[in-house]
Amino acid sequence: MLTIAPICGPDAPIARANPVTKLFAVIAVSTAALVAADWLTPLLLLAALAVATPFSGVQWGPLLRRLRWLWFAAGAVAAANTVFAAEQTGTTLLSLGPLEIGAGALTDGVAIGLRVCVAATVGVLGFATTDPTDLADALTQQLRTSPRFTIGSLAALRMLPLLGAEWRQITTARRARGMEGGRNPLRRARLFASTMFTLLVGAMRRAGRLAAAMDARGFDSEMPRTHARVQRMRAPDWLLLAAAVAVSAAAVAVSAALGTFEMLI
């Protein structure tokens, strides 16, 4: 089952915020992080996120557990970009046989790693605190997205965990038939392809049945729909959105004022 420990309680301020607000706040912060090519802008954004986290109701423990692999990945990105930079510019900091690291390459590598860090952190803060159903409700109500697309995706999302369970069943059934990957990479590839095929055949049938069941309950008829649950933009939502935009702009402005700001081409 696809269940992950929640990073905040159901009544935390951020859990109650409108999902579309959070979507735009995430977009604002990650855009700022991604257009800036320097190291200071993402660092300032990270600092701002750290300051904001206690007010959101998100608990540090679960948040950091959720983030550790993403940050580890960001570290790996930084290291790779430093070592494999096109040119090792600036003072040579380290020289180990063929490996040579210049100060310029290190700064650029760290900057890239920090940007990934910002995108990961703000993404987890925004989406791990959002119920998919609420997001779908808000998308159809605030952004007027097509219910056919939005609710269809939501129903498909609900089916995803079933695929994991079915994959295990198919693999077990394959073993019963005398088919197993073992250590032979060719056989493993064949087994993977055959399991995937069976999974897809099943998924297609299931999708067809789900679509029929949704139609039978009047979905996508010409009639307009009502909403059982209202999603509204309230004052705190506007405040959150304004804060996200202001902080993103401020980070860029501070970095520019100090002369470190670099624009990504």
């Binding site: 073993r175 019963a176 039978a216 309950r217 008829s221």
Partner: protein, 480 residues
């Protein structure tokens, strides 16, 4: 209440040569409660889909008329509620209450009316959880009750039920029937139900309509009259006619031991108690051992461990002449020792033709060519699959796919066959075929372990029965 009329109705699914139903004339008066019978492939589900307005012009070719209260069915979609067979694919939302509300939102019911109606529908079906309960945490029977609430909340004037209990265990099926009974006394809606297990729902209907293999009208009238006059024909077509005799195949004296289970135990990762806890058994040649118990009692886990398909936490399953426990055998060798047949036959299909499917395990076991060919021909004949030898396994009917999965498990001549719910959801005819086939295999000297809810199957074939409860053996009985 709404009246139903088919006149000269023919429907051919896009891409198919033969029509699913041809020239159907049928009238159901407002408020009538009709049981619709017919063999597999006679188009019962197609008729229901037509009434629910699900047959759109781009999905096939249509002649004749389908009328609800004299109007084209497609224009009255909002008055029809349909419950399908598979609970898993009827739920749309992550929270139970939201799922019932979904149908009301589509009907544009004003918000302030939605939640009271959701609550009322959930109460009507005896849904035992709060509205926020996650739908994925429900059992099959509970999911089906929730889906029924979703149908009832829309206050349909015509209710269609397409084998509503076929995918459920006896407990879940019983709860659905109870919910239906309660709900139907409260509504004047017209009802059309398709169901093979007739006896359980006869008290819900006042008229039985039976279709022939081509969708032609075979019989129509009150249940007693229809079954008295056409009982044998209907039974031959797959209907569980009430009171029709069931076959009995008592086995001979069991031979030597073929499979031994020693304190088999398994705790699934993250579970707080074992799914199976120290089960011992011994299975002999020529006998059928039935494993029974409620859902979650560990039956299916026992089948997995006995078949060497999953590594036990403790204990082991072994066959004579093989020192390595089954779960450590390589798959190609395992298939020559134990054959396992799963609930969903399609999970086991690994090739593109029926013939290759049967040759697969013998080939993996390294049999010589002539021996493989002889074995495949023998199985094709014996399981009546010869005419389908070149067909794709995924295109077979339910009964054929089931026979193929049994044949595939037997292909490499294992001495042991394990069956997981072999008769689940089958009509009477396929059921009879499976019982006869299982008896043949057993009487040829194969040792069979069958995990099942089906009391009739146990009565017909089992010489011993192990009843499980909470992962342990509650009782062991010797039959016949």
């Amino acid at each position: 209440m709404i009246s139903v009329e088919f006149s000269g109705f023919t429907w051919r699914h896009a891409g198919r040569r033969a029509p699913a139903v041809a020239d159907v004339d049928l009238r159901v008066e407002a408020g009538e409660r009709v049981l619709l019978l017919g063999p597999s492939g006679s188009g019962k589900s197609t008729l229901l889909a037509a009434l629910a307005g699900l047959l759109t012009t781009d999905s096939g070719e249509r002649h004749g008329r389908v009328l609800l209260d004299g109007e084209d069915a497609a224009s009255r979609r909002g008055c029809v509620g349909m419950l399908f067979q598979d609970p898993e694919t009827q739920l749309v939302m992550a929270r139970s209450g939201d799922d019932v509300a979904f149908g009301l939102e589509n009907q544009a019911v004003p918000r302030e009316e939605i939640w009271p109606r959701v609550r009322e529908a959930l109460e009507a079906v005896g849904f035992p959880y709060p509205m926020g309960h996650p739908t994925h945490a429900l059992s099959g029977g509970e999911q089906q009750r929730l889906a029924l609430a979703g149908v009832l909340a829309r206050r349909p004037e015509l209710i269609l039920l397409d084998e509503p209990t076929a995918n459920l265990d006896p407990e879940g099926a019983g709860a659905i029937r109870e919910a239906l009974r309660a709900a139907l006394t409260d509504t004047p809606a017209t009802l059309i139900v398709v169901e093979h297990r007739v006896a359980d729902i006869l008290d819900l209907v006042d008229r039985v309509v039976a279709l022939g293999p081509g969708g032609e009208l075979l019989a129509d009238g009150p249940a007693e009259a229809v079954f008295a006059e056409h009982g044998d024909t209907l039974a031959a077509q797959g209907v569980w006619v009430p009171g029709a005799p069931l076959p009995a195949h008592p086995g001979g004296t069991p031979g030597e031991s073929r499979l031994h289970g020693e304190s088999l135990s398994l705790t699934y990762p993250g579970a707080d108690r074992p799914a199976l806890d120290g089960v011992d058994f011994d299975l002999r040649a020529g006998e059928l051992l039935a494993v029974t118990g409620a859902n979650g009692s560990g039956k299916s886990t026992l089948a997995l461990l006995a078949g060497g398909l999953v590594k036990p936490t403790r204990g082991e399953a072994t066959v004579p002449g093989e020192r390595t426990p089954l779960h450590r055998l390589p798959a190609n060798r395992l298939a020559t020792r134990v054959g396992s047949v799963f609930q969903d036959p399609e999970h086991q299909f690994v090739t593109a033709t029926v013939r290759d499917e049967l040759a697969f395990a013998p080939r993996a076991a390294g049999w010589p060519r002539e021996r493989i060919d002889a074995r495949v021909s023998e199985l094709l004949e014996r399981l009546r699959l010869a005419p389908l030898a070149e067909a794709n396994p995924h295109t077979l009917s339910g009964g054929e796919a089931r026979r193929l999965s049994v044949a595939g498990a037997l292909a490499a001549a294992p001495g042991v066959l394990l069956l997981d719910e072999p008769t689940f959801g089958q009509d009477r005819r396929t059921w009879g075929e499976l019982v006869d086939l299982t008896a043949d295999i057993r009487d040829d000297g194969t040792a069979i372990l069958a995990v099942t809810h089906d009391r009739d199957f146990v009565a017909a074939l089992a010489s011993r029965e192990i009843a499980l409860e909470d992962g342990r053996v509650r009782s062991e009985t010797r039959r016949c």
